[in-house]
Symmetry: C4
């Protein structure tokens, strides 16, 4: 029943190193199937190239109980769970320590909306939540408190990135684009101080990208 979700989550996890977002095991992807109420997530500390759909761990989203899987789930499971429980229409989540985005997180700065690509994908700046520790629902609550409404990603101070979307693939795309725009803005910051796009201009790109882009 979860076959398709397992395939999608496996694909998203395997693409984390291919897209240059993770080193060794520093990231994970999950997906949530609202019909069954189950989510599947990467096992803790497993190599991406040894990952199979069957190795993923299935968890009941309401109770947090592991239902299927011989392996222990990612230690970041509580944060994924909290987000599925609290963010409507989110069915895929990715967590990374991708380098350029995490550099902004290390100095606790948002990624400003200085590029049309940021307006396209994120509809404004990508916020940065202040540092929190890894206990209980601290990370989940911090994301909820500091995210910007229509922006599918957030930086976590001194830590990394969470990104989400309507599927594991959409969450992966958001995580990839966070790192890509973080890189360009980081590069621009070494040349000068790039101006933010005015809100009115951001709306034009966001509108085009959300309503006229794609098939």
């Amino acid at each position: 029943m979860l076959r398709r979700l397992r395939d999608e989550v496996c694909f998203a996890n395997q693409n984390l190193p291919r897209a240059g977002l993770v080193t060794m095991h520093s990231g994970n992807a999950s997906g949530y199937d609202p019909e069954t109420g189950l989510m599947v997530i990467k096992p803790s500390g497993m190599d991406y190239d040894r990952l199979t759909p069957e190795a993923l761990v299935a968890v009941d989203v309401t109770s947090g109980t592991v239902l299927e899987g011989q392996l222990k789930p990612s230690v970041d499971l509580p944060h994924h769970l909290f987000l599925y429980q609290n963010l409507p229409n989110v069915f895929g989540i990715v967590h990374t320590h991708s380098n350029h985005a995490t550099a902004f997180a290390a100095v606790e700065e948002p990624i400003p909306a200085a590029l049309t690509a940021i307006a396209d994908e994120f509809g404004g700046p990508i916020p940065c939540a202040p540092y929190v520790d890894n206990e209980g629902d601290h990370i989940g609550r911090s994301i909820l408190a500091h995210r910007r409404e229509r922006c599918p990603a957030i930086l976590l101070g001194h830590h990394g990135v969470f990104a989400w979307g309507g599927s594991p693939r959409e969450a992966l795309k958001a995580a990839v684009m966070v790192e890509d725009v973080a890189k360009t803005v980081w590069l621009a910051r070494q040349l000068g101080r790039p101006a933010d796009l005015p809100d009115k201009e951001i709306e034009k790109w966001w509108d085009r990208y959300q309503h006229r882009y794609g098939q």
Copy 2:
């Protein structure tokens, strides 16, 4: 009839991610066949590795009507059309958000002619057009107004790069070289302030590259 053009445009699009110029779907290539008056362009939001020559969309350059293709063309179609209508001897166009070049665009600075490679390929600095929105022919007109005569590329403020040439392959080469020289000049700017080559010196390299280089 458009078979060869479709192959060339497909090749150029597929090489955008291979050359590191695009992330996810952030770029597109097109080609124009003056005999039939048709251009072909990437479909909107399609993965590069799933692209086939047949999936490309064919458009009448004079009217802008889509003539062949089940898929919607790139949302950047109007800009490609405008350039084919207004730039003589241009039969290939590439648009990217490549990171180093877009960093210069984010601070609205040209890439100065500080390297012999820039003299070779671009015959002087690569200009940067000020920011414009994505409506109608704004981007096309801005490129026309701000390009430097013999330079086959331009930066668009806060946005990215357009590059062109006598074929899709030439446009691809121009886009690749924009990013390469942007990277080197960006690196040099972190060490000091690289001097521009004098105009007289630029002419020597341009002349050699245009008239004695290649087979």
Copy 3:
């Protein structure tokens, strides 16, 4: 008898260029089998893609005598030997000149504990030993004098990185993570001055990673 150790050390060496840690021949990995008292190490100046388990050189850890192998061992053999003789529970060592970590070494600065990933893997800052020459046991003694107890890596001033662990694979992981966190901290340093995590917070991440992470 050393078959498995040879395989593990060969794997670690071959992954040095794959992980982007070495250029040409600028690094080496070794492993130590306490039961036989032997270590195996990369031959000097050999291409990683031509390396086979059989080509590795076996050395008696107590005496330093080469026991098996037609080829000369790495010129860094004395440093590996010294560390196996003096660091308990170390059965794998990796040496690299990986770029970002060596940049910190070039200015003789530690990598500060500004990221949760640094707390996870290294339990605090990664120290930098001052420059020493390559004679005798100078490098080995310097590592012993300047390492931080639970941190499995150190920078060597103007030189590069040594990393170690309970197996060649663990040493490889430490070397990979040194470069990864060096890159992120280096990037952050260009945006501002990232604050160190407080010691109390470092302990939380270290504890989770050491005791709850993995299978």
Copy 4:
């Protein structure tokens, strides 16, 4: 007769893009066989992945006459010729515009001997010749005038890198290491001002690398 030299020069050229030293066609490698008095070099503007040993152009080193080959030689042929005519024991030459090294060249600065790897390979700083144009023997004479005796590479102001050695493979290694150490020193320069190694220390590393390293 030139079969082996053609293979070696083809290998060196094909490794330029694999090692990340060239973009599109921005580099070339050659080799010289003193017994026949012939050198072979890359044809002008040819894709590296289409290069075959047979496509290389053979040239008489004394006269500069093309002896074999349907294709035009690299436009950089005069510089390669001049160096073979004037540098004893040089049988391989590589020219690139590799990014980090060329960034130093853009500001006309040498790469200082701040790393043990620079002492190993180059025995001191890698000098930078001031800008010269591309006419006649200007580049060749400038290299001769500004090179440092035992250093197998030089930066050319606002242009790029020449590297050489006892074979095309040695020249390739020198070109690869120039870019690698340029990258690390460039990174270090963004953290502070790395001190040069004292001459006495440079000698120790140089001596070890030249006399005890390798098989």
